[in-house]
Amino acid sequence: MTTLEVSKDIELYQGEFSKLGATALDSGNADLGKVRQAAIARFGEIGFPTTRDEEWRFTNVSPIARTSFKLAGGDFNQVSSEMLKTAEIPGMKGPQAVFCNGHFVSELSSLGNLPKGVIVGSLAAAASHPAVRHHLAKHANFENHAFVALNTAFMQDGAFVYVPKGVVVEEPIHLLFVSTSPGETGMSHPRNLIVAESNSQVQILESYSGTEEDVYLTNVVTEVVAGDGAVVDHYKLQREGHKSYHIATIQVYQERSSNFSTQSISFGAAISRNDVNTILDGEGCVGTLNGIYMIGGSQLADNHTRIDHAKPNCESHELYKGILEDKSRGVFNGRIIVRQDAQKTNSKQTNKSLLLSDQALVNTNPQLEIFADDVKCTHGATIGQIDEEHIFYLRSRGISAAVARHLLVYAFANDIIRRIKIEPLRAELEMRVLKAQEIPTDFVFTEGA
């Protein structure tokens, strides 16, 4: 009986795939049509994961599998100015590319004066660009990941960011994704490609939000290539509606001496899953993977990370935190692979979860696979409640027990938020947490350099 249900899910997607036909991306890049065919075929073989699948053990996606989603179009008239306004980050003045259900909307975007050669905009429009031909669908592997397979099969558009050799983009780029398909259970599969050529530098925020009242699926894949010596400072902010499902894969490829950092910040969605994977494939790379999620109700947030140390003398830093209220559930799975060649690797992974209710639950699983013998790898995980000694310290200075608790929850979150280098984003998130904790917002944390 289970088999029957699964095959029905698969048929539904195969049907949507046939209806879609050739996409704008295919027409600019003939090979992609074949890749999309292969992806839908692969999805047909593997279907949706179940909790018997090790990578999905604690994340049951059957609510997604059971829903008949329809491909959502890019009609930007459905994006109200109010939706857009709440999705924006006040004070961010750099280039902003807006996407409706994964489709670029030039009418709502403001790309301003980009440095010479820099491209920010539609992936479909750039289908024949050499960097797209060279990198698109070459990094995110769909063989063993149903959602990456679906994204690949359905890829039509998304963001393309290209920073040529040696160019420094001063202003942070905001890739703003809005999901809206009123009255329909819509799905979108935004596909993003970020290519930072050697010695370039760029800051990018991907943000996702959507309607609060609708059931919808956002299934995004972002491929990032950081060339020799490139510095990519990446953020992903997920504020989807609470009935929605958000599945994301960020697949990063790092070349020699590149520095890639990402912070994944999640608040919304009924079920959210982030896979962040980086391959440090050159000497002297630095990879930083941070994340925080704050959830409540019956939300589930799953963060899977994979750091692949392929070459010597690289370092990786990883700090993931979760704050869970009510009956919410969190999953953290952090895999670090140190290949035989990757001597002198320095890697640190930390996962901390704060449970604010007796019914909240976290599953944390560090996985270190070390094949080299001269490496320094540490990992640690803590799950618990607010430290009573910390509460007492604050109370002993006159702060009430209730305020002390709120302040410490804020502090727990702010430990990640304060690391955000895009100032308006940092301020926005800090305010959000302060407000959630009912702490007066008359102050801004000023961390010294």
Binding site: H390, R397, G398, S400, A401, F412, N414, T446, E447
Partner: protein, 253 residues
Amino acid sequence: MALIDIKNLHASVNGNEILHGIDLKVNAGEVHAIMGPNGSGKSTLAGVISGRDAYEVTEGSITFNGKDLLDMEPEERACEGVFLAFQYPVEIPGVSNTYFLKAALNAVRKHRGEEELDAMDFLRLVREKVKLLGMDESLMNRSVNEGFSGGEKKRNEIFQMAVLDPKLAVLDETDSGLDIDALKIVANGVNALRGADRGIIVVTHYQRLLNYIVPDFVHVLANGRIVKSGGKELALELEEKGYSWIEEPVGAR
């Protein structure tokens, strides 16, 4: 009226009685040192005064400024003017010293019926007190105690005391782990805060700190009782002879 009046105080941890009847009066303007060997109950006494809930008071009373101190929550005690300088100050990544202290000061001021300080007045006050302790002002923008050295943490405790302006300060082994330079800085800070309106209880294992914070009275605590009280000379005597001559008669009771 004494600032704090401790009468026949018995306190236990997990059902084990640690304090077996302490009597101690401290008047405003006085500095009392409480000395004693490890396990004598020094930190328990400091904890009971500040309201740590690990300790259960089974008998006796503490009257602070005419009010029943044991009836108050830790934050009420702080607002009434009790300050504990921690032996092990905690690190709180994510909350800046400035914000923490402003929240604390305004809670205390509100309790006293004073107006809350705005950001400008607060900064003025902080700058003044920072100088008093010879602290690096940049520490104010860092997270509470995060990455501070042992000396910086202890200095930060005294700095908080300077800002909160308590009526009674209890310094719990503030000297532990400090080198002589750090010790002098901390002691100078405390001395600057001595005054006719304030009582100070210095809890310490060693006499060394009392070379710099010279007490008016010294009490020796052993096995949960005050076994000897005297003037500052008593500290020197303890330094010379150790604690054993004091502990013996108690063991023999």
